[in-house]
């Protein structure tokens, strides 16, 4: 008998010997996971902003039109020389087009290539990245990122600064709510992430330090798309 079958056999026997009956989720009261986290759309933006700032993220309100300009300002203020973008994405294209109008902009790098081709560049010569997001979570101040071939997993992790675009209309109340609403159980991507701040650690003497292994700075651009929706 394989090790697998031995382990499963023992577990099965234990259930039988202890006369253990299966429990069912339908009998559970799950209201507690959503009840405390009910907000209006405006409150969601407020709560998410407050929570993200508390975890050391920078949050800016921007419009559909002006965000590329705001991003340029921030890049220049932070003296960042280059930015990785998913140039096939609508926001990647919007940014590229907008920045074309200026003489001096940071270099734009494309992530439309296998990591093996540019691992060294990503690790050693990339200042910042821009990614979109799937949505936000007001309760905990989190951003939902499902990396795609257009915006792969490592660009939101390796560069020291991560800019993230979040549409206000996609901010949900809680993790439990968005998961149920969007029926995540029917199909998850290769990698799904919640990002709730810059990388941090308190492993030395419980003293908080930022930029442990991931981005030192997380800058969230909340696009106000509420009226247009």
């Amino acid at each position: 008998m394989s090790i697998r079958d031995q382990i499963l056999g023992r577990l099965d026997a234990a259930l039988k010997n202890t006369n253990c009956q299966p429990l069912y989720a339908e009998h559970e009261d799950r209201s507690v996971v959503t009840e405390y986290y009910q907000y209006t759309p405006e409150q969601r933006v407020e709560r998410l902003t407050k929570m993200m700032q508390a975890s050391h993220s920078e949050v800016h309100q921007v419009s559909e039109k002006n965000w590329p300009a705001k991003l340029l300002d921030l890049m220049q203020a932070k003296q960042l020389n280059n930015l990785v973008i998913g140039d096939n994405t609508p926001h990647g294209q919007q940014l590229t087009n907008h920045w074309k109008e200026f003489d001096e902009t940071p270099d734009l790098k494309s992530c439309q290539r296998d990591i093996e081709q540019w691992k060294d560049e990503l690790f050693h010569n990339t200042d910042a990245a821009l990614t979109g997001s799937r949505g936000g979570i007001a309760a905990t101040g989190s951003i939902i990122v499902w990396p795609t071939p257009e915006e792969p997993r490592l660009i939101s992790l390796v560069p020291p600064v991560h800019f993230i675009l979040l549409r206000a209309s996609t901010i949900h109340n809680s993790f439990a709510e968005v998961m149920a609403l969007e029926k995540w159980q029917q199909g998850l991507p290769t990698n799904a992430l919640l990002i709730s701040g810059p990388s941090k650690t308190a492993d030395i003497q419980l003293t908080l330090a930022y930029g442990a292994h991931g981005p030192r700075e997380l800058i969230v651009l909340i696009v106000n798309d509420m009226e247009t929706r």
């Binding site: 234990a14 559970e28 507690v32 996971v33 439990a176 998961m179 990388s199 308190a202 492993d203 991931g214």
Partner: protein
């Protein structure tokens, strides 16, 4: 069986010796007290509604109990869904088997460099030692784990492995082990130093190893909870990702994850949420530009099915490894994590380790509790730790009758603490207390001659002031009053 040894700093032989050394170290007691107080306060402040906390705990308990109520079925469902998603599943009964599986994957890839995200199960199987013995470089990437690996130590806490070290300790350590590093006890400097060293490790690693916080049967998803980003690095940069976890970590539904995640981060460090919640459902797919091309999951039993076989002890497997019981334990706060001599310290370690290591090696642990009940009160999934401790105390002195036919011991090494001397002492005690005549005779002796007892009746009296029997017993005084 793997022998879990204590760290090099506390490598004294017995539990009694280690705890004695620990309580005699005022610096260590001060560090742990301060750290635990901080964590207790943080937890309290993040659960601002007691109603929410209690309802969430009930739900957490229910979710975990439900998973255990159909564990074999869920493990098979998990295996099927992971396999369909392209993740390879391996099963290991013992630490040796788990290590062999991991080593085999490494060998097949002709790999030599492993980077590890935080994983208590990999500590449990002592994977680093196993791989290093076979000339595989294996570097811890969680800052705390990296620090103690440099010092050749074991974690002293399951969430904050280097909690026993001060910034000065780390500064000395970095100066000694990282070429070109000056002594500097600024925490930001130290973390940036660690970041720089470990970036290179991530960049070069062939294999990434991680633990798993929740394995979702419904979708075939491995969930990792972290703040640093080393978990994401370890599971995304190298070409192969190997996750290792205990068989109890499976949950049935994806919707089981949000309440457990919330309970975990709030109970562990008083955080509403961690920086990253990382859900992995497959290796790199066609057309994707990064991520490992292979993902493996090693499911380890190592005594868990023994706990599972007993209705009461099964509750041990509800644990989501938040460490709240450790943070609130008055014993842990005084002796620190290394004194236990096991990978999992504190209350959860006391009820889990006997299954992983057998009773012989852990016989003193169930007794090392004041039974104050704090652990049970804060446990986010309501594990009745004090009740289980009492049960294990009984099991530790129940003689092992494994030679007899039909007899199946509840625990490996059951009865390891049994002593015929202690046994007869208690039998005599019971005899005296159930016979009014004998009781009267003994109390007569005690009131007349009790003062002649030696002052230091060892071992009980070693650390305690012995009570002095009164000159008159209560019975006697009541009689006189009635007269």
């Amino acid at each position: 069986m793997t022998e879990i040894i204590a760290s090099s700093t506390t490598n004294t032989s017995t539990f009694a010796q280690r705890t004695t050394d620990a309580v005699n170290d005022p610096e260590l007691r001060k560090n742990f007290r301060a750290a635990m107080d901080f964590l207790i306060e943080k937890r309290q402040s993040v659960f601002d509604s007691d109603d929410e906390l209690q309802r969430l705990r009930r739900l957490g308990n229910r979710i975990r109990s439900r998973a255990l109520s159909k564990l074999p079925q869920l493990l098979q469902q998990l295996e099927t869904n992971l396999t369909n998603n392209g993740i390879k599943v391996h099963w290991a009964e013992t630490p040796e088997q788990a290590n062999a599986i991991i080593y085999q994957i490494i060998e097949q890839k002709n790999a030599s460099k492993v980077v590890k995200g935080k994983s208590m199960v990999s500590e449990e199987v002592e994977m680093n030692d196993y791989l290093i013995e076979r000339n595989i470089e294996c570097v811890e990437s969680d800052m705390g784990e990296y620090i103690i690996q440099l010092d050749n130590e074991k974690p002293s806490h399951i969430i904050m492995p280097a909690i026993h070290k001060t910034a000065e300790d780390v500064a000395h350590l970095f100066k000694k082990h990282i070429p070109g590093t000056e002594y500097n006890e600024d925490v930001d400097f130290l973390i940036q130093t660690g970041r720089k060293v470990l970036r290179k490790i991530f960049y070069e690693a062939d294999i990434g190893v991680s633990g798993v916080n929740f394995a979702v049967a419904e979708t075939g998803t491995l969930c990792l909870v972290e703040n640093e980003g080393n978990g994401r690095m370890s599971t995304t940069v190298p070409d192969v990702h190997i996750a290792i976890t205990g068989i109890e970590k499976v949950v049935e539904l994806l919707s089981d994850v949000p309440p457990l995640y919330s309970l975990l981060t709030r109970s562990a460090t008083g955080q509403e949420v961690t920086t990253y919640f990382n859900m992995i459902s497959s290796p790199r797919k066609e057309g994707e530009h990064d991520g490992p091309r292979e993902v493996h999951l090693v499911l380890l039993d190592n005594g868990r099915s023994q706990a599972y076989a007993d209705t009461q002890l099964r509750d041990t497997l509800n644990c989501i490894r938040c460490g709240a019981c450790i943070n609130h334990c008055p014993v842990y706060t005084r002796v620190g994590g290394h004194a236990y001599g096991t990978v999992y310290p504190g209350p959860i370690g006391k009820i889990l380790s006997p299954h992983l290591l057998g009773m012989e090696e852990t016989k003193d642990l169930p007794g090392a509790s004041s039974l104050c009940g704090a652990c049970g009160e804060v446990c986010p999934v309501k594990i009745p730790i004090p009740d289980i401790l009492l049960r294990l105390r009984q099991e530790s002195v129940h003689p092992d009758r494994s030679g007899q036919s039909e007899y199946k011991p509840t625990l490996k090494g059951q009865g390891a603490k049994y002593s015929s001397k202690e046994h007869s002492l208690w039998r005599t005690w019971a005899m005296v207390y159930s016979s009014p005549r004998m009781y009267a005779f003994i109390s007569f002796l005690a009131t007349r001659f009790g003062r002649l007892m030696p002052r230091r009746l060892t071992p009980w009296g070693k650390a305690r002031t012995l009570p002095q029997p009164a000159r008159k017993s209560l019975h006697q005084m009541v009689k006189e009053r009635q007269a």
